[in-house]
Symmetry: C2
Subunit: 155 residues, 2 copies
């Protein structure tokens, strides 16, 4: 039972209005509302329909900010946040698991870029003039088959 943020144990200092959340997280009010719409936070409402956030939401929102700086899309962030408990304040282990899986994604992105760079190095050698041989170019060829143009920003 202990540790559960039940309605009974809420003190008013624990219920944070959106403006203060904005100040405390560095997000804009409109962004926070937008994140709620996306389902990334679920503030409760006062009788007058105003949002009230829990303390644990500060970390939740801060995480969004951090993850974006890491280059994650909101969709991915949503996916990560889904791993956190909604009712209870996330603990070290919760965050740790997330950090690790993000680290893995970062590693993958770096690896991808490095592969790309190495391929480009090959192209510098050939002056990018032998398109038939150029790996980068031929990657494009595959895409040609795979329908609708350049919507991708790195594989």
């Amino acid at each position: 039972m202990a540790g559960q943020t039940s309605v009974k144990t809420l003190r008013k200092t624990d219920l944070i209005p959106i403006g203060e959340m904005a100040r405390r997280t560095g997000l804009s009010v409109s962004a926070i509302r937008f994140y709620e719409e996306r389902g990334l936070v679920e503030p409760i409402r006062t009788s007058g329909n105003q949002r009230r956030f829990l303390r644990s939401d500060i970390r939740r929102l801060s995480f969004i900010l951090i993850a974006q700086q890491l280059g994650l899309a909101l969709g991915e962030i949503e996916h990560q946040l889904a791993k956190l408990p909604m009712g209870r304040t996330p603990n070290a282990r919760d965050w740790n698991a997330i950090s690790k899986s993000i680290r893995a994604e970062l590693d993958a992105k770096i690896a991808q870029l490095e592969r790309t760079r190495d391929t480009l190095d090959g192209c510098i050698g050939c002056g990018c003039l032998s398109l038939k041989k150029c790996e980068l170019y031929n990657r494009g060829d595959h895409l040609a088959a795979k329908g609708p143009g350049p919507r991708q920003v790195l594989g």
Copy 2:
């Protein structure tokens, strides 16, 4: 005079309609039209107002595809392409110069991601629980001062 793609030296096999360009580059017809609008290619027109591309435009458009896979925005690509001669078929040296400058950008992106990863490693250590100390979080703090929310995707 030689090497100039003057109207006089054009054979009809050198004038490629947009559909064939699409097939040969892997881009969609609409994307190619869009790139023209953006000023990335300048096809000539038939008397009936249809686009006809030069052979050298194949490479030009392919380059756009490649550069996008490298993560360059169209604006940057435009900037790079501006270095190429419009009248003449670009040679090895032209492409080489571009490749090198792209390689530099790639290196910078990789370095940035690596820095980010290292910072995240620090956070894994702390479980991302000590927000006051967390570098990633505090990067966010600076942003708070700098107005409008997360529009940035990596610095």
